[in-house]
Point group: D3
Chain length 131, copies 6
């Protein structure tokens, strides 16, 4: 259960607790999921990863639901079981309905198909698409 | 330039022209990009792929811009040069601004990073995430 | 043009020439493609890789054409441009027709699509499929 | 057990039952595997995916066994556990022996190795391989 | 539990036992892990794979610990659960500390992130980097 | 040449110049490569990515050369042309010899092969490897 084990709040050093507290406050929850407890063995990576995610997933030009669905699309493409489970939960919390999930997966499947058709057929980039 | 070459409209058999015509009408353009011209050597795959994309990318629970950005997120994850170029163009046409592109890429990059941290640390799925 | 450059026959040391000679004799050709010329900077890897491929691609329970098409299917899935180009040529030489290529790509595309649908929907293995 | 759960035949709406019936008739079996039961929450994707697979996997320029082995080769490359299990079963049903499976895996392994050697050494495509 | 089952030492034919014996002698252990027991159904692949690994992982210009960490970096990138577990064990045995593991994973995560940023932004190779 | 173009130093706003200056000072060079010039359209991502890389690639439990080789191993596995070119240059600058490069690639190739053999054969994790 995680290479280095999981660091529970009660056993965490102050710099880890500070990140845990910020995760719970930002997400308005009283719970820390295993990913952070596994990373906590490396407090520098824990902090850097959390600060990056907090910055990236905040509302901006894209809304949080769209961002969570993009995160899920990447995780499904990479077939990361944990990531699919956790980001499906996060996307639902942000408002993803069953119908939206189904359409998201249809796009992900199709993109993975045509990505390989393009490569297999050795299709060259059209002049109009060149930047 | 494409394994089997590109089928231009002038040289295309009727069943291929019918698909080309539908692509141009649906996309409100007078132009066919290389992907379809390469697939046209296999009219059954050309028709099936176009009908699938037409169905999947139509407005539904998700709007066309969100779908194009998801397509682009998958293509960037798979590092498919042609697909990134063509779907960046399609997403821009659907309304993606430079700021939206930049946030999309930030999410794609982060998801690809944490997908591997999760795997490398062998993180087990939390009970709360199990379906 | 290759990280360490290409080793031409005329400049190759005896242990590299011996591999080149065996490649040309086995493939009944008078030509060495760039992959081997790039690997030749590491004669141990050159020999090991060639001996492995020679053993694996020889006729056995599967015929050479089927093996070349499987090689191409993997290369298209991985989107390796060089490998797609070289194994398309090899598969054609072994008898792959345009129609066979088109069906091969259709299967590769579909498999890449359903692989992600399975992951995204978190489908559990059926009891009947368990080994 | 699947993000949206599994739709059993007894609980399925008519358009889903129609697809299930066609799957069982086409495959000459009285059983539906979990993949279809998971997709059934999205009847449009269920139908499209089944119709595509039915068309693609039918005998053509390639026989069904070769197609199943290509499907398995892609699934092993993508490391999709469910897909490997289900397509190993399908390939066996279509006639794949233990010896054929072993040779298939040897080719898949080797292709994945050389795909990366090619990229890592930055090998340029030979003029003779250019289309 | 492995497609073709696991071949235990007691049931193994002489050519398989010879490889098992060499694995145990080389690794100074009295134990064979499941990977080899699964491959043993194909003695030619078992021998070839073992001989290749033995040659590649031996001390050379790179020390065995560095090689094991590279193996682990690839396995984490590919998200191969078995490979991550077995090569984490091997790297630890070769001297990888918890701190080294954490830094290794940080690099793996970052590389996976920037690989996609590069592709998504369609960054062209700098003249100075061209070989 | 990069989706949003490249931001040259002369045209860069102060917050971008500050990052460019730090990159050049840290790397003891007077040159900025295209990756950073492309990211510069999104100063927040530019800064975050640079700060992360600077922290991760600094000497720690692993030396800089080992870290660059791990970065290159991941990039070769993902087949990212730009990343392979730039990190081969960085690894050489950090001391990677031709022999080290060749051994690195041999390990990368082998790991990519066995990762798929493990998946294809559906090998279960040994009890001894479970954490």
């Amino acid at each position: 259960m995680a290479t280095l084990g999981l660091v529970e709040y009660a056993d965490a050093p102050p710099e880890v607790r500070a990140v845990y507290d910020d995760i719970m406050a930002t997400r308005k929850t009283d719970w820390i999921n295993n990913f952070w407890k596994a990373l906590a063995h490396d407090p520098a990576t824990l902090r850097r990863t959390w600060e990056s995610i907090k910055q990236i997933m905040a509302p901006g030009a894209l809304d949080p639901l769209t961002k969570e669905m993009i995160y899920l699309a990447v995780s499904a493409t990479n077939q990361c079981g944990y990531c699919i489970a956790s980001h499906t939960a996060a996307a639902r919390k942000a408002g993803m309905s069953d119908a939206m999930f189904a359409e998201l997966m249809a796009v992900v499947g199709m993109a993975n198909e045509t990505n390989r058709l393009v490569s297999g057929y050795q299709v060259e980039i059209d002049e109009r698409f060149r930047v």
